[in-house]
């Protein structure tokens, strides 16, 4: 028989500490949909997605009810759309994006990822067409998310691609000026992009993945925070290694929840189960914040010295707990620092205690990168390219995923508040302490070679 304390502990995690399955993401390979005619191709894509995913939302709801654990988002990640565009132009790319958008709406999901290109070593015509189309594709669609992988530890960094993507990012923000540049929030630029990430906006189905697959993202910053607080109530003098241990144990339980639900959804859909991504992904809701975890640990003002170490501790403990819980842990798995989506981090940026430079340091030890950061409207493509290059360098050198998701808000200056609402949250426009001076370096373009430790055969 189950023990009383075990039952109550799980119930507490779900009902009081906001444990949920943040996303069940169905991966769908679209390569078989390639057609010479763009309209036929778009229709083939639409048909395939609807056929694969028509039961996704309903089955997820059934599983959520069965276990009493909410599944907050049901999403889709497709194979990189650029593969379908090798014989097409930017107009066809927009058509494709619109088909993806229609399909997402038809099956009742809110976001679909995979309007993506992998250009870390070079750029194919299809990748170029996709990147060219980004401003139109992201402003004409509601549900489509895009990503571009510009660097890997193995391949190095494609600076030419970065410059192009940065330009398109600025154009995308400008094209959605009426929504304060929101379209740019649906674009992520990666280094070492994972092929099985279930979280948006960077989800896609990588080349080595099954034809269809279910990947799950669990979150639970509130659960971790409460665990830390409980420990410190019982043991006010608890040391950092004791905190790490408590976080690890909590991560174990959260991961197990995700795998249980993910495997059941996959089984009911008749597709393989892929991975559970244990990422502490906050929402703007109080009590569901990664920043609150740092505060509970003792970093009272996020951004102060010690913050980076706290991020590292949390990220590492989460991974260890997840790895023991399941041999199917993948995706990003760690701690996110999405500024707008975390009320503590957002307030810290507003107060000026959490700077862009400190965030950059934190990205070296968290699971992603510069995420949901508002920039001034006059931010140049060269500045954004420099930001991307810096993040990519951190990722390349440290053999980890890094990413950049920034939104230059048209017409806005530092200190201005912007609210995108819902899960996207709100934030304050910020800028680097030194915004200019690297343009000549950026404009040299070309390719930064892979670091020496990539030669590990």
């Amino acid at each position: 028989m189950l023990k009383q304390q075990d039952i109550l502990g799980t119930l507490r995690m779900v009902q009081e500490e906001h444990l949920d399955v943040r996303t069940v993401t169905l991966g769908i390979n679209l390569n078989r949909c390639a057609r010479r005619d763009p309209a036929e191709q778009a229709e083939a894509v639409y048909t395939r997605i609807v056929a694969c995913a028509r039961e996704l939302v309903g089955l997820c709801n059934q599983c959520a009810d069965r276990y009493g654990v909410p599944i907050v988002n049901k999403r889709i990640a497709v194979s990189p759309a650029s593969v379908l565009l090798e014989d097409h132009d930017a107009a066809a790319a927009v058509l494709l994006a619109e088909a993806l958008d229609r399909a997402a709406r038809a099956v009742g999901i809110d976001l679909l990822g995979g309007f993506s290109a992998l250009v870390h070593k070079g750029m194919t015509p299809g990748a170029r067409a996709l990147i060219d189309a980004l401003p139109r594709a992201l402003t004409r669609t509601q549900r489509v998310c895009a990503s571009v992988n510009v660097a890997t530890t193995r391949a190095g960094m494609n600076v030419d691609a970065i410059r192009m993507v940065a330009q398109k990012l600025v154009e995308t923000a400008a094209a959605s000026a009426a929504q304060r540049g929101f379209a740019a929030a649906k674009l992520v630029v990666f280094a070492n992009m994972p092929e099985d990430n279930p979280f948006m906006a960077g989800a896609l189905l990588g080349a080595g993945e099954p034809d269809t697959v279910v990947n799950v993202g669990v979150s639970g910053p509130g659960v971790v925070k409460r665990a830390v607080e409980r420990l410190l109530r019982q043991r006010p003098g608890a040391t950092l290694d004791e905190l790490a241990e408590e976080i690890k144990h909590t991560a174990f339980r959260v991961t197990r929840t995700g795998e249980l639900i993910g495997r059941e959804v996959a089984s009911r859909l008749g597709v393989p189960f892929g991975v559970v991504d244990l990422s502490l992904a906050p929402t703007p809701r109080v009590g569901d914040s990664v920043g609150e975890i740092y505060q509970a640990m003792g970093v009272e003002r996020v951004g102060a010295p010690g913050t980076t170490a706290a991020v590292m501790l949390l990220n590492d403990a989460v991974k260890k707990g997840g790895a023991f819980a399941s041999s199917a842990v993948g995706g990003l798995s760690g701690a996110f620092i999405p500024i707008m989506e975390d009320h503590v981090l957002s307030e810290a940026v507003t107060r000026g205690t959490l700077t862009l430079e400190k965030l950059e340091a934190m990205t070296a030890v968290c699971s992603v990168g510069l995420d949901m950061i508002l920039l001034p409207g006059d931010t140049t493509p060269e500045m954004i390219a420099g930001l991307i290059m810096d993040e990519a360098a951190i990722g390349m050198a440290n053999r980890k995923t890094t990413g950049v998701r920034v939104i230059p808000v048209p017409g806005a200056g530092p200190g201005e508040r912007v609210d995108f609402g819902g899960l996207f949250g709100s934030g304050t426009v910020t800028a680097p302490a030194c915004a200019a001076g690297g343009e000549t370096f950026v404009r040299r373009g070309g390719h930064i070679p892979a670091p020496i430790h990539s030669l590990n055969n």
Partner: protein
Amino acid sequence: MKPEDQVVISVLLPDRVGILRDVTRVILDFQGNIGGIRQSIVDGFFSLTFTAALARPADPAAVRQALEDRLGAEAAVAVRPVTRTPSPVLPDGHPFVALTSGPDKPGTIHAISAFFVQHGINIADWQVEVANDQVVYIAQVRLPVDADPRLVQQAFRVQMALHGLAATLAHENIFRATNEIGPISALLTPA
């Protein structure tokens, strides 16, 4: 072993050190071998239920008297011959955990258990957690195989709310997954 040599025994008395020793001494005197056994302590009262196979037929009244003599005047003992082995109730039923919480007042357990009867649900285990004036009832139950768990879940929430209770009915796998070590795949039943 012949069925008429088997007995089922329950013992209830204030808890103290040595109860199980005293009980098993008596069974040993009757040359008995204990089969299934379960004990619990509720509010200081020790409760024990077990089956025993006796080497030779014994008068249940004699066994009861022997236990009462050994355990003392405060003990309540029942000894019944096992005429048939009861079949497990809902062995293939859906294993769920029902949690109900609310103010402590008479009639709550009756309301919960009446709901279960209404839906053909069997209670496999029952626990209580009390904090301040709030009580949490935890029942590990089996739903009939042909029950629609979602409908039962919804009805449970609605009916318990009428009694001022918050109610949750969740498949046991979520509790096992988060508290046990072992492959998740082993927990899953066919859809």
